[in-house]
Subunit: 232 residues, 3 copies
Amino acid sequence: MKLFGHVEIQARVRIESNTVVYGPARIGLGSFIGPNVILGFPPKKELTESINQGRSLHDAPGRRQLIIGKGCVVRSGASVYSDVSIGEQVSFGHNVMVRENVRIGKETLIGTGVVVDGSCRIGERVSIQTGAYLCSNCTIEDSVFLGPHVVLTNDKYVKQKSTRLVGPTIRRGASIGANSLLMPSVEVGEGSVVGAQSLVLHNVPPRSIYAGIPAKKLKKVPADWRTSLLRS
Amino acid sequence: MKLFGHVEIQARVRIESNTVVYGPARIGLGSFIGPNVILGFPPKKELTESINQGRSLHDAPGRRQLIIGKGCVVRSGASVYSDVSIGEQVSFGHNVMVRENVRIGKETLIGTGVVVDGSCRIGERVSIQTGAYLCSNCTIEDSVFLGPHVVLTNDKYVKQKSTRLVGPTIRRGASIGANSLLMPSVEVGEGSVVGAQSLVLHNVPPRSIYAGIPAKKLKKVPADWRTSLLRS
Amino acid sequence: MKLFGHVEIQARVRIESNTVVYGPARIGLGSFIGPNVILGFPPKKELTESINQGRSLHDAPGRRQLIIGKGCVVRSGASVYSDVSIGEQVSFGHNVMVRENVRIGKETLIGTGVVVDGSCRIGERVSIQTGAYLCSNCTIEDSVFLGPHVVLTNDKYVKQKSTRLVGPTIRRGASIGANSLLMPSVEVGEGSVVGAQSLVLHNVPPRSIYAGIPAKKLKKVPADWRTSLLRS
């Protein structure tokens, strides 16, 4: 374990072998940081400046803090940037990557191999399954489920033309099936479901089931699904 | 290299830098364990208990053994759990993750970035290509081929409703094309082929070629394909 | 940091914690190598021989050099093989894997979790987004854009029949949308665009937009897209 700069480690934290923390960082009460983890990695601009100026990554004038809440589990191979805030009881699988300016709510699960690009907002009790990719500027509300290998995108011109990068918004309690892809700025409504292997080109209204390439409406979400929870 | 607990290392084993082994584990004759590998990582329940009780991960009352057979190659960045049994001459690419209660038969290849969730059974001479994802409770028989980024799923209600998680079963000698997705509990028959980028909603009978979204039958597998091997 | 064999490190190079370099390797002026990186890993045949002969990986009779140009950034968790040549100002995300006999041109970006298999040629100013997979024997020309989770394939018989493995060729300035899959030996023409979640079975002519499963022509690329740059 190597700690550089100002790292506040609260009581009963455990940090395993070969882990590197670039401060400033705060690791909350009773959290577990697995082996071979990198915490507080600097964003691109700051990395470039420190390289060009011959400064160590350990010196960090103005670097923003990484905050890991209490009772979190970060498994092996994660790389988490500075300027990230992770709530209580959040659990990471292995080899997760989270870039700068990201907020993750409490009790959320981030699966193995998930990549969260910069400036995403992720709510509470969200479940993001293995290998999903969140482009920059996504909004994921509370209790959302993203299946394995879901891909969210933010550049409709695939670099052929300059455009503002806006990721999808997924509303409270919605579920996105495995391997599905959401186009830039699309919104999936509260409690809605997108089937596996779908391509979502347009907004999905609340409490609806969509599927296909492109995704079309199949039916309303049945009354006994967890959309009922959303009414409480 | 750090070894914790009871680790049996047989003759001519090589273990590279920064690798961590949590015992009990046995590493078979002549196997190679690359750098930055984690072996014997504890399952979630055991991890949570050891955190809550302030015990080290190195103490492991009742932890099940990780067994790596002879002549295996585990490349850099792998995380392999305890209670995993890996046969002889198995080869892993880089950054592989294998969870608890998994059995892998001899001479199988697990590609770079593959994730194998808990309680999977994988046969002999299987080839799992880069980035494939095996959900928990899958059965992969001998000589199966899974193309790159194949995704197997086990939750048809995408967390909207509670259900028993049952993964797909892929019978002997079948091949699944790249980026294809199999729905929960689907069975692909012996020697069958699923084309690339397909969505398999229903069972695929033996020796048939299916493709599309959803996958439909194209034709029988030609007689000169390796289904002929299955008859021997 | 551990350096084995002949490693030439030019001025102002920075190498972070837990990184392992198997020489021969040259790391160019001012390049940054992040933590937990593996450089110069041996190809399969050489690895097998060194294991069988009880030689260390550090001894390398006839091993080809890894060359990293000046001003490169290789972030945490990368595994880069020997016999790889990387041009100036190339930037890698996290957990990238690049196999042997690969050439990468200057100013190219290789995103987090990207896997580049052996014998690929990648041009200058290419952008390969998160989680894309390049099979062996691909050709990616200058200024190409590959979206997240794009998959390139080289085995049309999915191991059912022996065949020569030929990957796709993507011509100058083309863009491939996220999650799309290209079949073996397919060529995408100069300045063309493939939409997201597509399956490309056949060649795509220059300056055309294709999408769907299977991909079909939608229209010509509009005149104000960057194909205009290709004419200069």
